[in-house]
């Protein structure tokens, strides 16, 4: 199944490059060579052993390497953003950055650049060149290599030194096509020293065809900078969503990554955060609500390369029907990373006998003066609590809902945008009630 993409690349690499930008093309052939060597990941690989992605690769997808415009007006389709959340709003349709029309986006502070990666590569080649591929090019990973070969564009955000964004940035990814379709994109986010930014990425599907997205996001967070990365997925069950988030933190920076999967088909989130300076603060968290045949595999790596950093990790899953979940929490503490504080928790509730959860804490500690902990549980709702609530007149289903909402509460509390936190709380409740059992466009707007 790799062969068709290898052939495609060999026949059309000139076209691919022509519709991309020089900076992005520089490492393209190398990435392709690596993909030829690695192929798509299989369950024989340790890092991919829980979820078989092959069926998703077998599908025959269309690609848009000539980058023709898709007939869609996202401003029509998505009339509102999260109510109460005042954001800088951007759309990416498949892999194409949608021309900016939003008046309020002109209020971005001076020096901040938000545009397509292609545009950034052409207008600010030195800046893009300095960062593009720095984290991804060294990855021995089939998906990242495939992305390096085929991604032609993506989202670009640059927040210069000492600048604080007054509002969160919201990026809405929409998959839109009349035929089974694949999109590869590469996002690049640079938050310079002492800058502050929050990004909310929403993944949505528009049409009832098979979609395949393979996105790589590189984030560079400078000294004393603060960055929030929220990813909210609400896609339909014919979506394969492969997302690799690579973050590099400099000293005394503070980041949150929170991946929330409300509804999906097959999702793989690979999140790697490298703590490359002292006194970094890192929160990596996420939640999954799965039912039917949904599959979510969150693979996380927190790399304590420097001493005196603090990381927390919290992932929670509620799985019903025949849904499948997987979690890997790799925690690496380098030999000299003394005084590391690193805590990891993964808790899961299975509502049905046929739901499956696999979880693996993976701690690799080479320093000797650290505090690290991990805990993973898989269980059911607490029968005693259920009876207690029923004995107060709360019906079984309501009691279950209250417990499930309560179970997810601490992950939601990790959201540092008040309006978004309230909104997600509401969406989670709706989802658990079964009111969002089908994704129709943007849940944000319902």
């Amino acid at each position: 199944m790799e062969q068709q993409y290898i052939d495609l690349y060999k026949a059309h690499h000139a076209t691919i490059k022509e519709h991309s930008a020089a900076v992005i093309n520089e490492s393209r052939d190398e990435a392709f060579a690596l993909f030829e060597e690695l192929g798509f990941p299989t369950t024989r690989l340790e890092n991919y052993k829980y979820t078989d992605l092959r069926p998703a690769f077998e599908q025959d997808y269309g690609l848009n390497i000539r980058r023709l415009d898709f007939p869609v007006d996202p401003y029509q389709v998505f009339k509102c953003d999260v109510p109460g959340i005042d954001s800088f709003l951007y759309f990416v349709v498949n892999d194409g950055f949608y021309p900016e029309e939003n008046e309020r986006n002109k209020e971005l502070p001076e020096g901040v650049i938000i545009c397509s990666l292609k545009e950034a590569s052409e207008k600010h080649p030195e800046l893009v060149k300095k960062y593009y591929g720095r984290l991804s090019n060294t990855k021995k990973d089939g998906l990242v290599a495939f992305n390096g070969a085929f991604a032609q564009d993506g989202f670009f955000m640059y927040v210069p030194k000492n600048v604080e964004l007054p509002r969160p940035v919201q990026l809405i990814n929409i998959m839109r096509s009349d035929v089974d379709f694949m999109a590869n994109s590469h996002n690049l986010i640079i938050i310079e020293e002492n800058a502050k930014a929050q990004l909310l990425v929403c993944d949505h599907t528009q049409d009832d065809v098979h979609f395949f997205a393979n996105r790589v996001t590189e984030v560079f967070v400078g000294e004393y900078a603060t960055y929030d990365h929220y990813k909210l997925e609400n896609t339909h069950n014919r979506m394969t969503n492969l997302a690799t988030l690579l973050v590099e933190q400099q000293a005394s920076s503070n980041i949150i990554s929170n991946v929330i999967t409300l509804h999906n088909g097959l999702t793989r989130n690979t999140i790697e955060v490298a703590l490359n300076g002292k006194h970094c603060e890192t929160e990596v968290c996420g939640m999954v609500i799965g039912d039917k045949n949904q599959t979510v595999d969150n693979f996380t790596s927190v790399l304590h390369n420097m001493p005196e950093c603090h990381s927390d990790e919290l992932f929670k899953y509620v799985l019903d029907d025949s849904s499948k979940g997987a979690f890997t929490g790799r925690l690496y503490v380098a030999k000299d990373a003394q005084k590391t504080l690193a805590y990891q928790t993964n808790r899961n509730i299975l509502l049905n006998r046929t739901a499956r959860m696999r979880t693996k804490p993976q701690l690799e500690i080479y320093a000797d003066d650290v505090k690290c902990s991990h805990g993973a549980t898989i269980g059911q709702l607490d029968d005693n609590a259920l009876f207690y609530m029923r004995s107060r007149g709360i019906p079984f289903n309501e009691a279950r809902l209250l417990l499930m909402n309560a179970f997810m509460a601490d992950v939601i509390d990790y959201i540092r945008i008040d309006a978004l936190r309230d909104r997600i709380k509401m969406l989670v409740e709706k989802r658990l009630r079964g009111e969002l059992s089908k994704c129709e466009g943007c849940v944000i707007c319902q």
Binding site: S391, R392, G393, I394
Partner: protein, 250 residues
Amino acid sequence: MLVIKNLHASINGKEILKGINLTVNPGEIHAIMGPNGSGKSTLSSVITGNPFFEVTQGSIEFNGKDLLELAPEERANEGVFLSFQYPVEIPGVSMVNFMRAAINEKRKYLNEPAISASDFLRLMREKKELVEMDSKLTNRAVNEGFSGGEKKKNEIFQMAMLEPKLAILDETDSGLDIDALRIVANGVNKLKTPDNATIVITHYQRLLDYITPDFVHVLYDGNIVKSGTKELALELEARGYDWIKQEVEA
């Protein structure tokens, strides 16, 4: 109000209740005493519909309704309340949300509109004062991190909020110091009306110094073996349970 006839119940196939008969009328306070393992807590669990217990024989009628046919939540909304011996901690569910859900479910059951936010807050405040409960506790998750005494107070607070027709206090005195005991008992007494009834399940006579029962029953080996007035409780306190055992076995 409550009529229990020939009630048999078991857990995991082991019979615990072996033919209980008990009638409770409005306005009455009944105390049920007995040694450990006699079936006191099983009785309260069965009346409230705990699914871990199986009723194998007999009937429970509550205001003319067959209680055994009703789900636990329906029994609660009919006006049955249990103050748990071991109140359950529910992390993440706030007391406020919990109480609002309970009150509104009851109103829904009785075809009444949901309570307004201001009425609800006023009710919370009133009832908190009644049991001298710290406001900090009602701002927390249900029972989470509460001390033993706070948990018991919280049970009586919930009882005050829900105004049941029949309240069953299962070992509410256990783990309480003398001040907490007085507060809890005062709360129960203040909630007493000629229309509601209370069943006090207890080990010791101590609580009965504060809550005066109209009837005292002794439960032993799954049966009520002796009934009397409050003097029986005093006698039990003085003589222990052994003489009852001997009487039964004789």
